[in-house]
C-alpha cells in the first residue's frame, strides 16, 4: 500500500466518519444550559436604541426598563395619577408658584450603601440641564432657573415663571435620582455606575442580550418580591409574544389588542387592560396649504368617526375617544367632549373653502408603528365618504422623524402619555420644539400661561378646558383615541398594578413556583 492508499482507503474514511458522528453528538451534553431560576422575573425589552442603551436615566439612550428599577424619582403617581411621595416625602411652593421646596425621605441608602442626601438630588437635577448630555427631559425642565440644597434633606428649585404643575413635571418617568458619589461634580458625563436607590441592583448589563438585576433587600418601600430580574432583548414584537407563550418570559408589556384571543383560550396567562394616555395623531401642517385654511382642517377632523376607528383598530381592548386633545381621561385636566362625525358640516366647510368636489391629500405614514398605518387606512376609508381622497404613502421607518415628520404637510405620528401641563406646551405652544402642526394661536398661548400661573386647581382646570376647546376648533392634529394598553403575563405573577410601565411598582410583583 502506498501512501495514497492509506489516505483514500478505509482507515481515512473511518476517521472521517467518527469525526462526523462526534460533531453530531458533541452538542447534546451541552443542552443543559443556564436554566433560569423559577423565581427570576423575566421580562423583555424591545432594544429601542439598538444596543446603545446605557443606565443613565435621563440620557437619550437610557435603558428605561432597567432604569425604572434601579432608580427612584422624587415623586411618583398614586392610583389616580396624582403626585405622591417617593424619595421626597413633602413638597410645597411659594405663593407665586415660582419656588418649590422638596423634603427628602429619611434613611434611604443607595445600592453602594451611601445615604441619600440633597446633594444627590441637586446633582441629578442639574445634570438634566446639561447641554452635553442633551437629555430629552431638558426642554421640559428647562423652566428650572436655580437648584440649591438648603440642608441635607431640603432642596429648593426656583422656576423662571410660575408653574402650578411643576410636581407633575418633576414626576416625569425620566427624572431619577442618582448618586453623586464619586462623580466629581461632572454634570456632563453619562452616568454609568447604575447605583441608585431603587428596588433592584444591577448585576450584568448587556442591552443586546440579557441584563440581570438582583433584589435590593434594603429598599425603603419594602424588599422586592422576586430575588432576581432578567431583562431580555427581543426587538420583534411577535417574538416577544411567542416567548411569553412558550414560557420563556413572564411578562410582556404590550400586546396588540387584536392578539387578545391568543391568551383567552389558554391557561396560565393573565391579561390586563388599562387606560393610557398614549395617542396616535394625523398631523396637518397649519402653515401649509390647504391646511392653512381652518375650514379645511376642521372638515378633515369633523368627518372622522372616532368610535368606528376605536372599534376597528383597537378591537376588544378598546380605548377612549379623544376630540383631538392630547389630554387623556386619566389626567386631572381632562374635560369630556363630544365629537360625533358630521359629514354634512365637513362637506359644507370644504365647499366653503373652495373644494366643492372634495379634496385630494397625501398622508404619509410608516411601519414604524402599526397603529400609524392602521389609523391612516381607516381614516382614508372614512374620508372617502366625505369626498376627501386620501393617498396613503408609506415612508421608510428609518429617518421618518427627520425626513417626514414635521416636514411633509400631512403625516401620522405617535406619542406616549404625558401630563397635560407638559404636552400642551411641548407640542401645541407656538414655536415649541415639537409643535408638529406648526400651530400658531396667540389665544392658546395666553391661556396656557394663565393656567400655569393659576393657583386654584378648579380654576386652572377651567382654563385648560378652554385651551382644549380651542385645539378642537382650530388645531391641526387629528387625535382619535387613547388606546387601552394590554399587558400579558404568566399567572404565576401577582402584584402587577394596572398602570403604565414607567410607574409600575416592580418590587411589589411576586412570582409563585
Amino acid at each position: 500500500m502506498t501512501y495514497r492508499d492509506t489516505l483514500s482507503g478505509r482507515p481515512w474514511r473511518r476517521a472521517a466518519l467518527s469525526l462526523f458522528v462526534g460533531i453530531l453528538l458533541w452538542p447534546t451534553d451541552m443542552f443543559v444550559g443556564s436554566t433560569a431560576q423559577a423565581e427570576t422575573l423575566r421580562i423583555a425589552h424591545p432594544l429601542g436604541n439598538g444596543g446603545k442603551e446605557n443606565v443613565d436615566p435621563i440620557h437619550r439612550n437610557r435603558f428605561y426598563p432597567v432604569t425604572v428599577m434601579l432608580y427612584d424619582g422624587l415623586l411618583r403617581p398614586d392610583e389616580a395619577g396624582r403626585p405622591s411621595p417617593s424619595l421626597a416625602t413633602q413638597w410645597e411652593s411659594s405663593p407665586d408658584l415660582r419656588e418649590w421646596i422638596f423634603i427628602l425621605r429619611e434613611g434611604v441608602t443607595f445600592h453602594d450603601g451611601s445615604a441619600l442626601d440633597s446633594d444627590d438630588v441637586v446633582f441629578s437635577l442639574r445634570r438634566v440641564l446639561s447641554e452635553e448630555i442633551g437629555s430629552p427631559l431638558r426642554s421640559t425642565l428647562a423652566i428650572m432657573a436655580e437648584i440649591e440644597a438648603l440642608d441635607d434633606r431640603t432642596v429648593r428649585i426656583t422656576l423662571d415663571a410660575p408653574n402650578a404643575d411643576f410636581p407633575t413635571m418633576i414626576m416625569h418617568y425620566l427624572f431619577r435620582v442618582v448618586s453623586s458619589e464619586g462623580q466629581d461634580e461632572s454634570l456632563d458625563a453619562i452616568y454609568e455606575s447604575g447605583v441608585g436607590t431603587g428596588p433592584f441592583k444591577l448585576t450584568t448589563l448587556d442591552a443586546e442580550g440579557t441584563t440581570v438585576l438582583e433584589a435590593n433587600p434594603d429598599y425603603w418601600d419594602g424588599a422586592p418580591g422576586v430575588p432576581m430580574v432578567e431583562v431580555i432583548a427581543i426587538p420583534d414584537s411577535e417574538a416577544r409574544i411567542q416567548a411569553l407563550l412558550a414560557g420563556q418570559l413572564d411578562l410582556v408589556r404590550r400586546v396588540n389588542p387584536q392578539q387578545l384571543a391568543l391568551f383567552q383560550n389558554r391557561d396560565g396567562f393573565e391579561v390586563q387592560t388599562f387606560a393610557t394616555g398614549d395617542w396616535t395623531s394625523l398631523v396637518m401642517r397649519t402653515d401649509t396649504p390647504p391646511f392653512d385654511d381652518v375650514r379645511v382642517r376642521r372638515a378633515l377632523r369633523l368627518l372622522v368617526d372616532r368610535e368606528a376607528i376605536v372599534r376597528t383598530v383597537l378591537g376588544e381592548a378598546g380605548g377612549s375617544v379623544s376630540c383631538d386633545t392630547p389630554v387623556w381621561p386619566g389626567d386631572p385636566y381632562h374635560v369630556a367632549q363630544e365629537c360625533p362625525p358630521d359629514l354634512e358640516e365637513a362637506r359644507r366647510l370644504l365647499a366653503e373653502a373652495g373644494y366643492p368636489d372634495g379634496l385630494d391629500v397625501e398622508l404619509h405614514t410608516s411601519g414604524l408603528n402599526a397603529l400609524m398605518v392602521e389609523v391612516a387606512q381607516v381614516y382614508q376609508a372614512q374620508a372617502a365618504e366625505a369626498g376627501v381622497r386620501v393617498n396613503v404613502r408609506m415612508a421608510p421607518s428609518d429617518g421618518y422623524w427627520s425626513n417626514v415628520w414635521m416636514q411633509r404637510p400631512f403625516v401620522a405620528a405617535v406619542w406616549s402619555q404625558r401630563p397635560a401641563a407638559q404636552i400642551l406646551s411641548e407640542a401645541f405652544l407656538s414655536g415649541a420644539n415639537w409643535n408638529d402642526s406648526f400651530w400658531d394661536n396667540e389665544e392658546f398661548d395666553a391661556l396656557l400661561a394663565e393656567a400655569r400661573a393659576t393657583i386654584d386647581f378648579e380654576e386652572r382646570k377651567a382654563v385648560y378646558a378652554r385651551a382644549q376647546q380651542l385645539i378642537w376648533e382650530d388645531g391641526g392634529s387629528m387625535i382619535a383615541f387613547f388606546p387601552n394598553r394590554v399587558r400579558a403575563y404568566s399567572d404565576t405573577l401577582s402584584g402587577v398594578q394596572p398602570v403604565h410601565d414607567f410607574f409600575l411598582r416592580w418590587h411589589e410583583i411576586t412570582k409563585a413556583e
Partner: protein, 300 residues
Amino acid sequence: MSILLHHRARFAAVSSRASVIVPLLRVIWRRPSGAIGLCICAVHALLALLGGFIVPYDPLAQDPTAVLAAPSFAHPFGTDHLGRDVLSRTIVGGQTAMAVTGIAAILAVLWGGSVGILAAMRGGLADEAIMRLVDAVGALPYLLFLLLLAAFVGDSVVALIPALALFYGVAIVRVTRAAALSVYSTDFVQAAIVRGEPVGRVLRQEILPNVLDVILVDGALRWSWMILGFSALSFLGFGVAPPTPDWGLMIAETRHVLAIAPWAALWPCVALATFIVGFNLLIDTAGKLIGVDHEARGQR
C-alpha cells in the same frame, strides 16, 4: 451543445409555423407537471384579468363590526384586521405586483441580456469588470441590497421598477453570458467571424437567435421570483402602500394575528405560492421541451 441548439431551433421553427402558443401548450398539456402548471396559471390569469369584476366586496371596504371574522358564507375567506374581505383582496392582490414586476422583468431582460451578450463577446477586461460587478451584487446579502435600493428610491412603487430591474437583471447577465459564451464557441459563429463579418452582424444574426429562448425562459422564471422579492419588500414596509391589496403586504400586515386569524395571511400565501409554483412548473416544462433546462443550472 450544438445538438441542444438544434433541438431548440427545431422546436422554435415548429411552433412558429402555426402559432407559437398552441403547439407548445399542447405538448405541455401532455406532461403532468406542465398540465398542473398550466391550470394554475390559467386560473391566476383569469383572476388577474377579471379580478375587479368578480370580487364579492370592495377590497378596500372596512367593516368595523367584522374585524378578523372567521370564514363564513358572507366572507368565505374571512376578514382581515380591518374587517376587509380577504377573498376580494386575495383576488385582486396580485395585480399591482404582477404589473410592476412585469415591467421590471422586461427591463431586466433587456439590460441583463444585452450586457451579458456584450460581456461574452467582448471578453477581456470589459468582461472581467462586468463579472466582478455581477459578483459583487451576488456577494451582497440580497435583502440588504434590496433594502438599500428601496430606501434609496423612497416610497414610490414606480421608482421600485428600475431598482428591481437592476437587481434581477444582474442574474440575467450571468445566465446570458454563459449561454452566449457557449454559442460563441460554436463553429457557425466562428464561421461568421472568419468571414470577416462585423461584431454587430454576428451578434444579430448568429448569437442572438440562439440565446433568446434561454434569456426569455430565465426572465420569465425570474419574474415569478421577483414577485416574491416584491412581496418581501412589502413586508419590510417598501413597495405597495396600504390599503392597496397586495399579497405580500396582506401577509405582512396580518402577521400579528397569524395564530388567531390564520385565514388573513393564509390565502394570500396560498395565492402567492400557487402562482409561483404554477408558473415555475409551466415554464420549467416549456423550457425542458425546448431544451432550455433551467433547473439543471441550479439558479433561482
